[in-house]
Subunit: 178 residues, 6 copies
Amino acid sequence: MKTREFKRALYVGRFQPFHLGHLKAIKDVVRQAEELVIAIGSAQYGYDLLNPFTGGERLTMIRLALNEAEVDPAKYLIVPIPDLHRPLVWVSWVVSLVGYFDVVFSNEAVTVGVFKEKGYRVESITPYRQRLYSGSEIRRRMREDEEWKDLVPKSVASYIESLDGVARIKDLHTNNNV
Amino acid sequence: MKTREFKRALYVGRFQPFHLGHLKAIKDVVRQAEELVIAIGSAQYGYDLLNPFTGGERLTMIRLALNEAEVDPAKYLIVPIPDLHRPLVWVSWVVSLVGYFDVVFSNEAVTVGVFKEKGYRVESITPYRQRLYSGSEIRRRMREDEEWKDLVPKSVASYIESLDGVARIKDLHTNNNV
Amino acid sequence: MKTREFKRALYVGRFQPFHLGHLKAIKDVVRQAEELVIAIGSAQYGYDLLNPFTGGERLTMIRLALNEAEVDPAKYLIVPIPDLHRPLVWVSWVVSLVGYFDVVFSNEAVTVGVFKEKGYRVESITPYRQRLYSGSEIRRRMREDEEWKDLVPKSVASYIESLDGVARIKDLHTNNNV
Amino acid sequence: MKTREFKRALYVGRFQPFHLGHLKAIKDVVRQAEELVIAIGSAQYGYDLLNPFTGGERLTMIRLALNEAEVDPAKYLIVPIPDLHRPLVWVSWVVSLVGYFDVVFSNEAVTVGVFKEKGYRVESITPYRQRLYSGSEIRRRMREDEEWKDLVPKSVASYIESLDGVARIKDLHTNNNV
Amino acid sequence: MKTREFKRALYVGRFQPFHLGHLKAIKDVVRQAEELVIAIGSAQYGYDLLNPFTGGERLTMIRLALNEAEVDPAKYLIVPIPDLHRPLVWVSWVVSLVGYFDVVFSNEAVTVGVFKEKGYRVESITPYRQRLYSGSEIRRRMREDEEWKDLVPKSVASYIESLDGVARIKDLHTNNNV
Amino acid sequence: MKTREFKRALYVGRFQPFHLGHLKAIKDVVRQAEELVIAIGSAQYGYDLLNPFTGGERLTMIRLALNEAEVDPAKYLIVPIPDLHRPLVWVSWVVSLVGYFDVVFSNEAVTVGVFKEKGYRVESITPYRQRLYSGSEIRRRMREDEEWKDLVPKSVASYIESLDGVARIKDLHTNNNV
């Protein structure tokens, strides 16, 4: 096995829900690092408009999707990260829960900013049809009864159905407008 | 592959540090469940007497040990759980971060109690030389320069050395006695 | 005395302020349960636009209103519940502070959802002129110097006057627009 | 009805468990005030050595005991107060959750100190066989299979039995010694 | 030296960033009090739209500005106050971190309200071109490449440049609109 | 003025109470740095055995002592730091509240450890009769009516007397032994 460029990479997302854009990014990063830590941000939330799925449900989605895509389970760890609501200590908080990493993969401006400020190497992710493969787009489609299943891995679509996830998102939206 | 008795098992520990007793328990549980969630309790602590290793360091230890023991990485997930310091909501907190499970493996009275109270099935772990394979015994040996490496997996011993973990534990102890 | 259908009912509200709609709901529920726990949500807030009255002021309002309406004080308890800002553990949190209950009365979608998810029986409240008997409508009328006193019990109107509550709400609104 | 000396009194305790000393104090204070707020301190705890009973269980105990003693339910309110772990803001925190009071009844040095420092009138409670009527004494007797039921109201003894409270306390103690 | 009217004054602001309006207010208050405590509110924030500068950066700005204006450093203290997100205990929280004061200088309605409610003397600040000397106006100018440096002390302008503050504010704004 | 070795030094203590050992250390450090940040640890505590004095009282003590010792007020800042109870993010937390520093002065093992781990330069303080000039020794003397005033600056002794600090410490001790 040839050595990868990085020993351990960090990839942060909220995964509301996990979609094919996330999957493509993870497959790209897994090729460049010996191990990948997939950090689930805002992990303590669920059942709200921005975060309809709980940290544990998102952990399950990611596992199902990576199994379906036959990503080697020896190559990654999935770590839910509850928010501290103290943004200036967030990088230290992530480090305390996941341990060592030598690179962060992210296109998200604040994430890029805070890790760079602490001296971490940050690499960008090749963009992949971002308007389509986006959590907010998928949640909008769910609410408005448009087609959304082709934007997520098959196993994730089934899992969301088993959770009655579309009804949950509609309920949250209805309630919020009252 | 024959079906296992449980779909998803939960096993909770602090792993300060991960030792051969933990490894034996995990191997036993992995045989009984389709998937095992290994929850790292008090994950936000580190560099204190009871919790010398950080959540991320313990995550790393467990991964190294299970790789060394050739436990199939498709069979388990490792999830750090920071304390909320609200014991009566702890079970809900764990569920929100790890998702579904149908059995909890534990011999620890409080853990057994709180999960049973919420209606979970709890199974005990076959005890295995508990006086020896114990975090506090290992930390004591480290402090007093006795032999400790035979109580942990080889990869964990090397990792602790790479962290200069024995010196860390001695420093914490010295400082605490002043 | 004939037995009631429920042993202990839970009714949750924010009561900003307590109005005649709340009173009617409580009278309905009290007839169906041996004891009613009235839980004051977001109890730690006060002096903000959404929550102008403190938890303690709302406790006092409810007591005054139920005395005025001659609801038997042996039949209910009033419990302020501070938010934890961890929605997924909120049901456990309420249980830890109020104890046992066998039914929840609520028309509020999120409350209904989270209690049902944890296996609680949830009953709806017969709607009663909701556009009129609504905290936000009453606060709007206070701000705009319209008539609001006929929407709340007399004793609550007097209490709000003794607190100089209308001026407080106007101040909060003015300040917020700056 | 003649006017009482105080409009609203505050009485703070942990009530682990509620005993006859608490009952006697409450009966004394109820005679001196138009309304009494019974505040349950450390309300978020339960299932630990110092706080075996949850806030909601203690609320239930107090209600049962005061019903049994025929204390008029129109004369008191019971309010669980979760700790903030910021001792210097504790008085403000209590005020925000219970509202107005013009006197605090307490013999407990820290409680007396913090309320006096904020300018509150503090009255002491006539001591009543404190060595006997004490939460820690009752918990000790429970652990050591000595007689404890004569130290608490009958209804509280029955309620603790329905919770299997003695077994809970023994379990917590055993577990703690390991 | 003649005695001042107040022994110790409190002046609260967020200082995002510190500008010439703040400086004028501080110079006015320093003349009236033997000592002034300048409290930096929301001190734990930084790198967000409303709070681009950290508590420590704001502390540094204020120090630089008061040195430049030759305000006697024996006359003031600068104290960062992290939010507790419990507004009803905020006054106690400030007191616990800064100690005694006999007057509060503020024009901000909520601050005025909460301190008056706790019985503090509150004095207003002579308004000084508030539309111009305003944190939000300065942040808007920074974002839109308009002239902002004449609204802050010279030393603050240089410090913000050394932090690359304008780029930071633009980044935060861009990111927020995505 | 010749340039100092460090631009900005950090010195951390709990100052329960501020004593002549602290003063000597501060005078030493002030000579080596252009500016010194004196950080008051555990600032949110007070009225407990380990932390009898509040953050604000300690701020006041330090100011009085440095005025008495004629330390130039242009050379130092005093910053209270409330604990986060997340030790692994403590260094980031301090940085977010005090800003830049290029050296930390400390002899305390944990402080030395956590700052070194984050890459900070840490210098030790020349020890000065540590058995005598120690907060716990001074608190012990206060409790046991031994002579303590010669261990603290005169102005600090007077201030503690104005707070009735010895009685406070005895009360806390008595209460704790009950």
